[in-house]
């Protein structure tokens, strides 16, 4: 069985708010944000490795990005994936989700054979969750999104999908694409052995000379959507910190709730 895991290198957006004000001159000091594997993609890698351990599969990690995305692929190798491929070319820069899913799907097609494609449910920088389904559409295979549990059978998979307030049990034939949530597993750390082996492994770079994709379907030109502006949102303003002892604070809360008629459902 051959599993392909699509991963993305993203800035650690959890760390982004780490901006401090330098007291000397009130300027913003922005700390360097680390690049990491998109956390949900780590869950996808982990799931692929678990299937590999149970069913003897081979796992290939692919990523589309600038040259430094190679770090993310090397980490995937260190975790235990068998092969890693970086898809990178300046002409792919500026791709939106449509162009990205197109490029990734063509790259996957170049791999001789695949049974299952795994990806994280969304990337924490774009948060669109669109590339996975886009790839599935390009490849003409079924997609199962928001999967929190996956079981691989002979030629088919059974999954639990997370809906708004319950879980759906769903089955499909392979090949298929699955996007996973954090609940599916706890990703492993690479082992030292894995890290050192990964350092020596070659990660081929597939550029457009190799993929030969029409330039009007990739990059900025190939993207139907365009970002025209980026701005900092206006946040609601600070309110009041209630003072007093525990009792006084609790009484004030109740007073405010009464004022706003929010105690009418009190049971």
């Amino acid at each position: 069985m051959h599993i392909v895991v699509c991963i993305k290198q993203v800035p650690d957006t959890e760390e982004l708010p780490k901006v401090k004000i330098d007291p000397k001159d009130n300027t913003i000091v922005r700390e360097e944000v680390k690049n990491i594997i998109n956390p949900f993609d780590e869950n996808a890698i982990e799931e692929a490795l678990r299937i590999k351990e149970k069913k003897s599969a081979s796992v290939t990690a692919i990523s589309m990005g600038p040259p430094q995305a190679e770090e993310a692929l090397r980490r995937a190798l260190a975790m235990g994936v068998d092969e890693a491929i970086l898809i990178s070319d300046p002409v792919f820069a500026g791709s939106d989700t449509w162009a990205t899913s197109y490029v990734l799907s063509r790259a996957i097609k170049k791999l001789e054979h695949f049974d299952l494609i795994l990806a994280g449910k969304q990337a924490i920088d774009g948060d669109t969750a669109q590339v996975g389904p886009g790839i599935a559409e390009w490849l003409g295979i079924p997609q199962l999104t928001y999967v929190r549990k996956l079981e691989v059978k002979d030629g088919s998979i059974v999954a639990e999908r997370a809906l708004e307030d319950y879980f759906e049990v769903i089955e499909t034939r392979l090949p298929a694409l699955v996007t996973v949530t954090k609940e599916i597993n706890e990703p492993r750390y690479p082992s030292l052995r894995g890290l050192l082996l990964a350092k020596k492994k070659e990660i081929p770079i597939w550029n457009n000379d190799y993929l030969k994709l029409p330039v009007d379907k990739v990059g900025l030109d190939g993207s139907p959507t365009r970002v025209i502006k980026v701005f900092i949102p206006e946040l609601p303003s600070k309110g009041e910190i209630i003072e007093g002892d525990l009792n006084q604070k609790a009484e004030r809360v109740i007073e405010e709730l009464k004022k706003r008629n929010l105690l009418r459902w009190l049971r």
């Binding site: 982004l16 669109t128 886009g134 997609q143 999104t145 319950y166 502006k229 525990l246 459902w265 009190l266």
Partner: protein
């Protein structure tokens, strides 16, 4: 291919562009700005440069899109009931249609739903497209995608909006890819560009740290999914007695590869978080899973729903559908009580439009206090029992 370059004569190395780049790709080298590989041409730096020293070249294309007419919204229904986001879509859809001088249509897919569709005629919709087929009884990607794709290629709307529900986020990218058109996810606001009449789609990015404005200039329909509980709901009011148009796509050709074989409900009686007027949320400050009983008790007393931060969902203390935030649900209740939640941006994005926010946290520096209407700097383990007891007293008095 787009091009960006620094006009070195104009650049003074002031560095304002450095902090504007959402991708941290700009640095100052030898007193001049330098943009590293990976630029997505978003233009943020162009805007902030006081010396107009950054030049962004984007090719402009000529495309005739005049045959695309109609503002469409996907009226998502499950088991015969319309999802609440449908009414938010109708609200914004009607506004956009009016601004464009165009018609508003709703699309309903399902089985045995023809009589339910009449309910939509109470709202100012001009047309209601219905596809009624047994294969559409429960959502499955390929049948819904086929139906929607055929509808769109047939009638050629200029805008198609869907709710960013689990269904919407599964279906929209499939259809958009097939249509070869642009899709923007999780929009929180829309505008119509005065000049081009393009739909400007506004959404949070980078975990909610910034907002992005996006357009689909050369493709139609302009597709977008809309975050539930952000846009105002339409009220029935003046009904336009919309025309119901039945459509029959050819679904027989689709493979029945995917089968829904069951449901798992882990909690009985889960209140819909996004519909709740009052939400009491718990975060890492609770310390351990058992302490959620404080949250549940308070929610029960107030007649509210239980929410959670990402940290406690990750720790497995409560199922993920309680999660509020960037990768969880967006809520807009009348009252949001955050207990033991620090309030990182990713959480704020999911609840900051609540009418009244009460935050309880023992850390006075917790970011949640920046957006809370009322802040209580206390250990929730000490404060909540006191609050609960007082509410129980008030409730007892009510009974008398």
């Amino acid at each position: 291919m787009a091009k960006i370059k620094i006009i070195l004569d104009k650049c003074t190395g002031c560095g304002k562009c450095v902090s504007s780049c959402p991708f941290s790709l700009i640095s100052i080298e030898e007193d001049k700005a330098k943009i590293a590989v990976g630029c997505t041409f978003c233009g943020a730096c162009v805007e902030v440069c006081p010396f107009e020293a950054i030049e962004l070249e984007k090719k402009v294309r000529q495309v005739d899109l005049s045959e695309y007419k109609g503002v469409w919204i996907f009226a998502e229904q499950r088991e015969g009931n319309f999802m609440p986001v449908t009414f938010e879509l109708l609200g914004v859809g009607r506004k956009l249609a009016d601004e464009l001088g165009d018609e508003l249509s709703a699309v309903v897919l399902g089985f045995n739903i023809k009589d339910k569709v009449e309910f939509l005629q109470k709202y100012p919709v001009n047309k209601i497209y219905v596809v009624d087929d047994p294969l559409l009884k429960t959502y499955r990607t390929n049948f819904y995608a086929r139906a929607l794709f055929d509808l769109v290629t047939n009638y050629k709307p200029q805008i198609l909006l869907m709710g960013a529900t689990t269904l919407g986020r599964d279906l929209a990218p499939r259809v958009a890819t097939r249509l070869g058109t642009g899709l923007t996810a999780d929009c929180t606001a829309f505008e119509i560009d005065g000049e081009t009449k393009n739909l400007v789609q506004i959404r949070p990015a980078f975990g909610g740290n910034v907002m992005a404005s996006i357009v689909t200039p050369y493709h139609r329909p302009q597709m977008a999914t809309v975050r539930p509980k952000v846009m105002p709901r339409i009220s029935p009011g003046t009904s336009s007695k919309g025309e119901i148009i039945e459509f029959v796509p050819d679904l027989a050709g689709e493979d029945e590869l995917v089968k829904v074989i069951g449901q798992i409900r882990e909690e009985s009686d889960v209140q819909d978080l996004q519909e709740a007027e009052i939400i009491v949320s718990g975060g890492r400050g609770l310390g351990k899973a058992e302490n959620f009983k404080l949250i549940r008790r308070l929610a029960e007393l107030l007649g509210g729903a239980v929410g959670a931060s990402r940290a406690v969902v990750d720790a497995g203390w409560i199922p993920s559908y309680h999660q509020v935030g960037q990768t969880g649900k967006t809520v807009q209740p009348k009252l949001y009580i955050a207990c033991g939640i620090s309030g990182a941006i990713q959480h704020q994005v999911g609840m900051r439009n609540s009418e009244t926010i009460i935050a309880i946290n023992k850390d006075p520096e917790a970011p949640i206090f920046n957006i809370a209407t009322y802040g209580i700097v206390e250990d929730l383990h000490k404060f909540l029992p006191v609050l609960i007891k007082k509410l129980e007293d008030v409730s007892a008095k009510k009974e008398e």
